[in-house]
Symmetry: C2
Subunit: 447 residues, 2 copies
C-alpha cells in the first residue's frame, strides 16, 4: 500500500491507509497500546486494540522505533477531540505494524511535555535531541528566516553570490580571526563578506549572500558563536542612507510576515511572540537617542561613542511605550569608531551614515551607506592606517566608477534567538561552535 503522509490523514477518514514514521511516544493503557507516530509532516495518535493482529509486533515497539503501520482512520468521539492540534479529531486504528528499524532505550525522557534539558546535556546529545518537536520548530523558524530573506532579495532584483570563506589577509586586523594552515602558507577564515559584497555589487548593482562568517572570540557568553550564518545585502544607486534603512526595514517586515503565516504552529509551540513592526519604524541619531534616554530615564549617556546594552534596552522600552514599535533605528555613530568603508555625513563628517536596527533591546541588523568615491576611499584607507596592498582587489573595484551605495547584514542565529526568546544563541544553532565545543567538548574544556 502506498505511503500516506501523516498530515494528509484527515482526508482519508473511514479508509485503510499505510503510514511510515517514528514512534514519538508509546503509552500502555490496560490491554490497549497507544502510539504517537511522527513523520516529516506531523504527528498522529494510533491505537492497537487488544484483539489486533498488530499486537504481537506492537508489544515490543518502543520510542523512536521506525515503523510502517497500516490502519483505519477513525473520527474521534466528540469528547476526545483535541482542538487546534494536527489530527486532533482522528485516530488510527492499527491493523498491522512492521518494524523498519529498532532503537536503543533513550538516555532521557524525550516525551515529556515540559521537555527541558540543561543545555550541556542537550548539546552532548544534539543528534538525538534534534528529533524533539521543540528543536524541529526552532530550526524550521530559522529555515524560514533565511529563505524569506532570499525571497525578498530576489523579488527586489538582488543577485545571489557565494562569498568566500577563506581569505588571504585580515583587512581590518584584530585578533578575533581564525588562521588556516593553507599548504605551506597562512590564510584566514572570513569575518564578514563585507568587502566581497561591495565588489560584486559594482558588477551586479544589487547583490545578496547567505554565507558563513567566523569569529575567534575567546568568550563563552550566551550570545557568541565562532561560526555563524550571515545574511548580507548590498545595493547601488541609493540617494542616501535612508534608502538602505528602508530596504532593510522592508526585508525584516517581509521575514516577520512569512513567519506569521508559515510558522504559526511552531511559534505557538515555542510560546513565542513575533515583535511588532509599525508602519514606519522610529529612527533617531545616536545623539538623539542619548538625549531621549536622559530626558525619560534620567540616565546620562550623552557623548558616549556607542550604545551599550543598557542604552539599547532603555531606548527600546521608551520607543515601545511611545509608539508601540518593538524596533528602532539608530544612526550616526562617530566616524572614527567604525570601519573605513562607512560613509561620513557630508555636513557633520565626525558622524557617519551607519545604522543599527535594535529590537527588544538587542541589535538585530547593521548597515548604512558606504564610501563609494575612489579618492575618498583612498583617503580613508590612509586615515584608518590600513595597508592598501591587503585590500587591492576591493580597491580596484572602486577605481572604475561606483555609484552611491550601501547595504546591511544580520546573523540568522541571533535573529532566531531574539524572535523566539531563546536564552542562549546555542539553542538557535544546530551545531554550535564556541570556545569549548565543536560537537563534543574540546579536550580540556569546561563549560
Amino acid at each position: 500500500m502506498e505511503r500516506t503522509l501523516i498530515k494528509e490523514l484527515g482526508k482519508h477518514v473511514g479508509k485503510t491507509v499505510s503510514i511510515s514514521g517514528w514512534v514519538n511516544i508509546r503509552r500502555d493503557q490496560g490491554k490497549m497500546v497507544f502510539f504517537d507516530f511522527r513523520d516529516r509532516s506531523g504527528l498522529v495518535q494510533g491505537v492497537v486494540l487488544p484483539a489486533s493482529a498488530a499486537m504481537e509486533v506492537a508489544k515490543d515497539v518502543r520510542n523512536e522505533y521506525v515503523v510502517r503501520v497500516e490502519g483505519i482512520v477513525n473520527k474521534r468521539p466528540e469528547k476526545n477531540v483535541q482542538e487546534g492540534k494536527m489530527n486532533g479529531d482522528i485516530e488510527l486504528e492499527i491493523t498491522a505494524m512492521t518494524v523498519l528499524a529498532v532503537a536503543e532505550p533513550l538516555p532521557f525522557d524525550m516525551s515529556a511535555e515540559g521537555f527541558n534539558l540543561d543545555l550541556t546535556t542537550e548539546l552532548d546529545h544534539r543528534a538525538l535531541v534534534l528529533r524533539h518537536p521543540r528543536l524541529r520548530a526552532i530550526f524550521k523558524v530559522q529555515a524560514v528566516i533565511i529563505d524569506s530573506f532570499r525571497e525578498f532579495m530576489k523579488q527586489n532584483d538582488f543577485f545571489e553570490f557565494q562569498a568566500p570563506s577563506i581569505t588571504p589577509t585580515t583587512a581590518e586586523g584584530g585578533a578575533e580571526v581564525f588562521q588556516v594552515n593553507y599548504f605551506d602558507k597562512k590564510a584566514f577564515l572570513t569575518q564578514s563578506p563585507q568587502l566581497y559584497k561591495q565588489i560584486v555589487m559594482t558588477a551586479f548593482e544589487r547583490v545578496f549572500s547567505v554565507n558563513k562568517v567566523f569569529r575567534a572570540e575567546p568568550s563563552a557568553t550566551t550570545r557568541h558563536l565562532t561560526e555563524i550564518v550571515s545574511l548580507d545585502a548590498e545595493f547601488a544607486f541609493i540617494d542616501s542612507w535612508k534608502d538602505v534603512r528602508d530596504m532593510s526595514e522592508e526585508t525584516v517586515r517581509y521575514v516577520l510576515k512569512q513567519l506569521a503565516t508559515k510558522c504559526d504552529a511552531e511559534i505557538k509551540l515555542l510560546d513565542a511572540e513575533l515583535p511588532t513592526m509599525i508602519e514606519k519604524t522610529p529612527t533617531m541619531s545616536l545623539t538623539e537617542a542619548q538625549e531621549k534616554i536622559f530626558a525619560v530615564k534620567g540616565r546620562d549617556a550623552r557623548g558616549e561613542k556607542d550604545m551599550n546594552p543598557e542604552d539599547e534596552r532603555d531606548i527600546c522600552e521608551i520607543i515601545k511605550q511611545e509608539t508601540g514599535s518593538d524596533f528602532v533605528y539608530i544612526y550616526g555613530y562617530p566616524t572614527r569608531q567604525k570601519p573605513f568603508y562607512v560613509y561620513p555625513n557630508p555636513e557633520h563628517p565626525e558622524f557617519n551614515e551607519g545604522m543599527d536596527l535594535i529590537c527588544r533591546g538587542v541589535e538585530w541588523l547593521s548597515g548604512g551607506r558606504r564610501v563609494s568615491d575612489y579618492a575618498q576611499l583612498m583617503e580613508h584607507v590612509k586615515t584608518w592606517g590600513m595597508d592598501p596592498e591587503k585590500i587591492s582587489m576591493f580597491l580596484e573595484a572602486f577605481k572604475y566608477g561606483v555609484p552611491p551605495e550601501g547595504g546591511f547584514a544580520f546573523g540568522a542565529e541571533r535573529m532566531t534567538m531574539q524572535i523566539l526568546g531563546l536564552k542562549n544563541v546555542r539553542q538557535a544553532c544546530m551545531f554550535p561552535r564556541d570556545l569549548n565545543r565543536i560537537d563534543t567538548l574540546l579536550s580540556g574544556a569546561t563549560e
Copy 2:
C-alpha cells in the same frame, strides 16, 4: 525624474525617461557620440546629437563612468534594428547627462566582442572583469543552478539546514584537509557535510544544504578548487538505491529545465548547449559499463575498481550514440573502495549501492544508499578501521531508529563549468581559491 530600468525602456517609446547605469562602451562617430549603457537589467544604446545640451558633459565621459541620463526613447529605423537583442529596436536620444562617478582608464579593452583575457590576467583583475557580460552570464547561470536545486528540494518537502564548516576531527582521515588554529586547539575545515546531513535526516526525514566544503588538494589542475559550493540532499524511507537515483535524476532535470527558461539569453551569449536528459537516464553497473566499453571500443578495463577519465568519456560516447542521452548512471562499485557509510548490495556484498551520474565524460553527482542499521554501521566502522570516538555524534543518531535512506551531492562550480563548456573551473567560481591563489597570487606562487 524617477529612474527607469533599462529592460523596461521598450514600454516608453516616444517618452522622456531617466536611466542610471554604467557606460559599457563609448563610440565616437563624427560629431555624434554613441554610448551603450548598462544597469542590472540590461543594455541600451544612447546617442548624443551634436546640438544636444548633454554634449558638454558627454565629451569627457569614458567607459565605466556611472551616469544618470535623461533622453527620449526612439524607435530605430527598420534598417538599424538588431533582432533578438534587448532594446535592439530602440535608441535613447540623450538630452541630459550627469556623472555620478568617474572611472580611471581601463587596464585592457573590456568592450571587444571577442573579449578573451588569459586566465591569469582575468583573475588578477577579477573585481573589474566581473562587470563583463560574459562573466555576469556565467554567474547568473550558477545562481540559477543553486536556486533551482533549492526550489526542487523545497517542492519535495526537503528541509534546509546549515551544515557546519569547522569540524573537530577528520573522520575519514586523509591529508587533503585544512587545519584551523582553533584557540589553543586544532580543528579542521569540513571536506563534506555527509555525516551532518545524515544526522539531520534522522530528525527531519528529508534534508538539503547548500554549503562550502574545503579540499586541501595540492594540485593545480583545471578541475580543482580548495573551496567549493556543495549541494547536498539526504532522505529517508527509500525502498532501494533506485529511489535515490530517481530523486537525483529529477533534481538535475529540474535544474536543466529552469536554466532553459531563465538563462536562455546567457546560454546563447556563452555559446553553450544544455546537455540532453532523455526520459529515463541509462543506468548500468560498473561491471556492465566495463563490459560495454570492451565490447564497443575493444578497450579492456574489466575488473578495474573504478572508472578512470577515459572510461567516463568512452561510456558517455557509447550511451550518447545508442540512446541520445548525455547522461549515464554508473552504480555498484567495490564496497571496500568507498566510504564506510555506503550500503553494500545485500546479494553481492562485495559491490555497493553507491552511484555516480556522468555527463559528457565527467562525473557530475555522487550518491547512493547508506548503511542505516546501527549494528551494521558499527561493523563497518570496525572493518574500515575508524575510530568510533571521532564520529560519536553521527553514531548516536543511528542508535535510535533510522529508516532506510540515501542521498546525493554535487558541486556548483563543476556543474556550471560542465554545462557551459568552460575550460577551467576557476572561470566558474567568482573568487577561486587554489594552491597558488587566494584573490591575489600567494607569495612565492607561480601559475
